[in-house]
């Protein structure tokens, strides 16, 4: 069996980098994009990309498809999370959050599935958050963007299933690193109080589930799988 080709958008962030590393360790051929960070030292093909630039997203995915000859899995890890109360979120902040976390995923999936349809299907994994699916104190625009991901995953799974394309989301709770580091400490303490396992999630715990859904999955689709240590 030839190695799976996996493309990771937002591959240089804390989660994306670990996803790239896990996929590469499992023998996948990895393409990834980065924006503010540089190439991340993983064994893969890196390209700079601003995910809110839709033509650039499409061009970059086409380049990956040309380079590898196919794309078996797309993983969308590009995300921002600013901790703001509603009064501090102006229209620009709202638009920016939704553009990076949700709109970019839509247009990336739209493009990559054109390729996957010509193959024998594929796997799509979008990074969600418990803020999009469980009641939790969280920035409203961030929760909206992650709920958009959860909604898209269901509708995409319905539309793309006949082409043997599976679409899922992984929704982590608060993690040890990454966007979670920007959270105020009282929120983290509150989380730990209610989290059954009494600890934050590890980046590699997210990456292992993402990798399974990207590489091994054949029948799970339309699901937002929560990883929160029994919150």
């Amino acid at each position: 069996m030839s190695a799976k080709v996996c493309v990771v958008l937002g591959g240089s962030g804390v989660v994306g980098r670990e996803v790239c590393r896990t996929l590469a360790a499992r023998g996948a051929r990895v393409g990834f994009t980065f924006f503010t960070n540089e190439k991340n030292g993983i064994d893969g093909v890196g390209k700079r990309l601003d995910v809110v630039d839709v033509p650039a997203v499409e061009r970059t995915l086409d380049e990956f498809a040309d380079h590898f000859g196919r794309i078996d899995a797309l993983i969308h890890c590009a995300a921002v999370g600013t901790h703001q109360l509603m009064g501090e979120v102006d229209e620009r902040a709202w638009d920016s959050m939704l553009a990076i976390n949700a709109k970019s995923a839509f247009f990336a999936v739209r493009r990559v599935t054109e390729k996957m349809r010509e193959q024998d299907g594929g796997n799509i994994v979008l990074l969600g958050s418990i803020d999009g699916v469980k009641p939790a104190p969280s920035p409203v625009h961030y929760a909206a963007s992650k709920a958009a991901v959860a909604g898209m995953v269901k509708a995409m799974a319905k539309e793309l299933g006949p082409d043997n394309i599976r679409v899922n989301s992984v929704a982590p709770g608060i993690l040890e690193d990454g966007l979670s580091r920007g959270l105020p400490d009282d929120l983290r303490q509150e989380y730990l109080k209610h989290c059954g396992l009494k600890r934050l999630g590890k980046i590699e715990e997210v990456a292992s589930l993402v990798s399974w859904l990207a590489v091994d999955n054949t029948f799970v689709t339309g699901q937002t799988v929560i990883l929160d240590g029994a919150l």
């Binding site: 396992l197 590890k202 091994d216 240590g229």
Partner: protein, 241 residues
């Protein structure tokens, strides 16, 4: 993925139970399983597991026999790391024909059996402060689907039991997960009339029934150390219904 783990699977003599047993063994686990009646099926499962297997003709409702089974497994192989509460029954029948004994049988095996087996296995897991319990639920326990009401009620109960048990034993580092499949190639859905099956497939995005191995492969990941932050979750595998 499961190298060196000791797993106990209930309801191992057929269908998903056999697929779980085989897949866990392929992933390096030592697999013990229980079954209630089907001796020939149990032999086939033991053959599928290969060299190292243990089988027990033990009802999930028989606590003394369950305790003896656990004692034997742990004496010979060491601590049970993984329990899969897979034993389950259903009957296709409408409410009007459902008698109290039908209700009791389905609820007893599917729910009380899960409770009793979990309680017996968890005693050691709590002492050791490690372990994973995987409960086999069903799509009918989480979505509105036409299905026998006692079966639906039992699988919804499994979801609730999973959540409360996950909360209670998380403090010991034990994870509890519910895996909820849709209709599979083999199993309780086999008795569906053709028109119901066609309707199901029409609404299933991938347009096919789930393979037992597809569910078993996912289960092997879910109970593995790579999945150490998931607990209390009910994960659906249904091809996008």
């Amino acid at each position: 993925m499961l190298n060196g783990k000791v797993a106990l699977i209930t309801g191992g003599s057929r269908g998903l139970g056999r697929a779980l047993a085989r897949t866990f063994a392929e992933n390096g686990a030592k697999v013990a399983f229980s079954y209630s009646r089907d001796v020939a099926g149990a032999k086939a499962t033991a053959d599928a597991i290969g060299a190292q297997s243990k089988q027990f003709q033990v009802s999930v409702l028989d606590v003394p026999a369950t305790e003896a089974m656990i004692a034997e497994i742990e004496r010979d192989w060491g601590a049970i790391d993984i329990l899969v509460n897979n034993a389950g029954v259903s009957q296709a029948m409408p409410l009007a024909l459902m008698e109290e004994e039908d209700w009791d049988r389905v609820m007893d095996i599917n729910v009380k059996g899960t409770f009793l087996t979990s309680k017996s296995v968890l005693r050691g897991m709590i002492r050791r402060k490690r372990g994973v319990v995987l409960n086999v639920g069903s799509l009918v326990g989480v979505r509105m689907i036409e299905a026998p009401i006692h079966y639906c009620a039992s699988k919804a109960a499994i979801k609730g039991l999973t959540e409360a048990l996950a909360k209670e034993v998380a403090r010991y580092g034990i994870r509890v997960i519910c895996l909820a499949p849709g209709l599979l190639e083999d199993g309780v859905g086999r008795n569906l009339p053709d028109y119901r099956l066609a309707d199901y497939l029409k609404h299933c995005s991938l347009g096919r029934l789930g393979g037992l191995n597809e569910v078993a492969n996912f289960a092997a990941f879910l109970v593995s150390d790579a999945n150490s932050y998931m607990s209390g979750e009910t994960v659906v595998i249904d091809g996008g219904l």
